[in-house]
């Protein structure tokens, strides 16, 4: 069921002629209850797919915003088990929106990759992105996920040349995530014009839709990237909303969802004009 949830969503959007909007939220940030309320509100606010980060103490590819989000979640006792619990609660009310879990390898090693794949599938997870698990190390995880029909989403980056791209897209399904800047999340800004030829290259090599993320913060930028990519991922800008709302003692859920609404609207506006 799971892989097909991603495939179906991209097929439907293709028919609509537009890119997907994919918000990234951190499980348990700023606390489990609020994070679940945000998660549940995302589809109505305009999310086409959802990335849920699970917190890790040492997120080596994250910039300060997502590092701090992970710290907030961990300080409130968030766990991978509770993350799956939140996704199951979400799934009970939404059978269609694909959910991609994103994080680091060690919590999965602790769980055991086979048991984890089984439990993630039962919770309604459709795909997994493990930042520090390149194709060279991925076979055991890919085997486990295959057995439960969960996509292992691969990352391509500005340092991925054509030869490397062949390695990256092996055994992948769902979509490919193009990391638009060489760097950590939430620091450099993506440039739509520079990204376009890479998206095309990755599409051709993988035969899959290509999502672009790392460095998209504003509706303007989201709109520009949505013209050239199949999906636009925004993460740091959303967790920054959480941080600010907490700081100002504002309604966290409302603030995040309204940002999601603005970004989703921009992505919809970018709909490619028929030639």
């Amino acid at each position: 069921m799971s892989k097909s949830r991603i495939e179906k969503r991209f097929a439907d959007l293709k028919a609509e002629g537009r890119a997907a909007f994919v918000p990234y939220v951190m499980a348990g940030d700023p606390d489990a209850e609020t994070a679940l309320a945000i998660l549940k509100g995302l589809p109505a606010a305009g999310a086409d797919l959802i990335e849920v980060g699970f917190p890790f103490s040492d997120p080596m590819a994250e910039g300060p915003p997502i590092q701090r989000a992970a710290q907030r979640a961990l300080s409130k006792g968030m766990t991978l088990k509770a993350t799956l619990g939140a996704i199951a609660a979400f799934r009970a009310a939404d059978a269609d929106t694909p959910v991609i879990l994103m994080g680091y390898m060690n919590p999965l090693v602790t769980w055991g990759v086979e048991a984890f794949a089984r439990d993630a599938a039962a919770a309604g997870v459709d795909g997994l992105i493990i930042v520090d698990c390149p194709p060279e190390e991925a076979d055991p995880l890919a085997d486990a996920l295959d057995a439960h029909d969960i996509s292992l989403i691969r990352l391509a980056t500005p340092t991925t040349d054509d030869a490397r791209l062949q390695v990256v897209v092996r055994r992948t399904s769902g979509f490919v995530y193009y990391v638009s800047v060489a760097g950590v999340t939430g620091v450099k800004e993506a440039d739509a014009a520079a990204v376009a030829p890479h998206v095309e290259r990755v599409r051709k090599a993988s035969g899959l839709p290509v999502a672009v993320g790392f460095g998209i913060k504003t509706p303007e930028r989201a709109e520009a990237v949505a013209r050239v990519a199949d999906a636009v991922v925004v993460g740091s800008a959303l967790v920054d909303e959480v941080a600010e709302a907490v700081e100002l003692n504002e309604d966290v859920t409302g603030r995040v969802l309204s940002k999601v609404g603005a970004l989703a609207k921009a992505v919809r506006l970018a709909r490619r004009v028929p030639a």
């Binding site: 590819a61 590092q67 961990l74 991978l80 919590p107 980056t157 340092t159």
Partner: protein, 406 residues
């Protein structure tokens, strides 16, 4: 769990994927994969290049001051009353520790690869100083990441790095110690992939660092072998070294791994005691997992979140250990013991008084296990201990523990 079988030839490891048994590997973000592959290829070419090796040997003898002496510690031997104790005097190297052996090798490699900017992580500051030193010598800009907590406890080293022209960036994320400095260095590397060389300071991290750092540090063990054959006419019965990431230890151990008669002891930092939960002993108090690009023993909680290490010694204050040590432990080739802060302090004082040598507080952990090891080997036997660094840097720490101000 069944112990994995011992190999016939330890030199055949790691395999092509950078694995020592289950340990090691390359768990890094995709952006870095092309870089670590390049590094792997560049290092393999340099290793096989006689000109590179000759250049390195030249700098090691004329700049670092190698070979370092193998010194028979007569009074220490007499004090314990067991096996003869020899100290491998790595503390006499330029900059005061073994760290420079690796830095010299890696900086020559970085230049050969055309890299123009060097980054490094440091805990105690010893590796940061060694990196800043070689960067000054070869005129390359140098950024050293150091946990904000360590910047506070190692102020003289921060100043030393500044004098050598390096920029020290305090790291406040996470627990603000060595592991976070390493995270931050990795983040810098991911961001500045085209011109930057990451000079890792221990036999840890992703392949090829564990094997490369081991090779550069193996000069220690190769010299010990020659020196001990010359003075004793035979191989030692036991080798002892402290283990943080594991570079001074693997450097001494590696040339002896195939000599099954040579017993091998690594000593991890037990901090306030293994039962206190405040220690830095990854093998004795952790379990396998993935951090900083490799599978190895790690201090971590039940959820797989990395735990902070605790040790009086900033250089041992790391929640992991190099993957080759993890494997040597599993196959039973090496034995990993522990020493507490208090035991290390006692050993520090003992060596200072008996031999007139202030040992680094890191090396003092190895010294602390000599009573048991020399007794086990027994009179007539020979034990070689790697004195990885000098203790001048630690006098403030030692004074504080004695309740004295200087």
């Amino acid at each position: 769990m069944n112990a994995p079988t011992r190999p016939n030839d330890y030199a055949a490891y790691p395999d092509a994927r950078g694995r020592f048994g289950d340990y090691g590997g390359q768990y890094v973000p995709e952006t870095l994969m092309p870089l670590v592959h390049d590094l792997d290829a560049a290092y393999a070419a340099a290793k096989a290049d006689a000109a590179f090796q000759a250049e390195l040997a030249g700098f090691l003898s004329h700049y670092v001051g190698r070979p370092s002496p193998l010194y028979f510690a007569a009074r220490l031997t007499e004090h314990f009353g067991g096996a003869k104790i020899y100290l491998k005097r790595e503390e006499l190297n330029h900059t005061g520790s073994h760290k420079i052996n690796n830095c010299m090798g890696q900086i020559l490699l970085a230049m050969r690869m055309g890299k123009t900017r060097i980054i490094a992580e440091t805990g105690a500051g010893q590796h940061g100083v060694a990196t800043a030193t070689v960067c000054a010598r070869f005129g390359l800009p140098c950024v050293v990441y150091m946990g904000a907590v360590d910047v506070e406890r190692q102020k003289p080293h921060v100043f030393r790095m500044n004098l050598l022209g390096a920029e020290v960036r305090p790291v406040t994320s996470g627990s603000a110690t060595l592991k976070d400095a390493m995270n931050e260095a990795l983040r810098d590397w991911v961001t500045n992939v085209h011109d930057t060389y990451y000079l890792i300071g221990s036999a840890a991290g992703m392949h090829p660092y564990p094997v490369m750092v081991r090779d550069f540090q193996s000069i220690i063990g190769r010299e010990v072998r020659e020196q001990i054959l010359e003075v004793e006419g035979r191989l030692p019965d036991a080798l002892v070294a402290c283990v943080g990431g594991g570079s001074n230890a693997i450097g001494m151990f590696h040339p002896f791994l195939n000599d099954e008669g040579v017993k091998i002891f690594g000593v991890e930092a037990a901090g306030s005691g293994m039962d206190s939960g405040r220690h830095a002993a990854a093998i004795n108090g952790g379990r396998p997992g993935v951090l900083h690009g490799n599978m190895t023993y790690l201090l971590q909680d039940r959820e797989g979140q990395i735990e902070e290490a605790h040790s009086i010694s900033a250089g041992l204050d790391y929640p992991g250990i190099g993957p080759e040590h993890a494997w040597l432990h599993d196959v039973g080739r090496a034995t990993y013991l522990t020493a507490t802060d208090a035991e290390a302090l006692d050993a520090f004082m003992l060596l200072s008084k008996l031999e007139g040598i202030l040992p680094a507080i890191e090396s003092s952990h190895a010294l602390a296990r000599l009573p048991e090891i020399t007794r086990e080997v027994g009179k007539g036997g020979v034990v070689v201990l790697n004195l990885s660094g000098r203790g001048d840097k630690d006098v403030n720490t030692v004074a504080a523990h004695l309740g004295r101000t200087i």
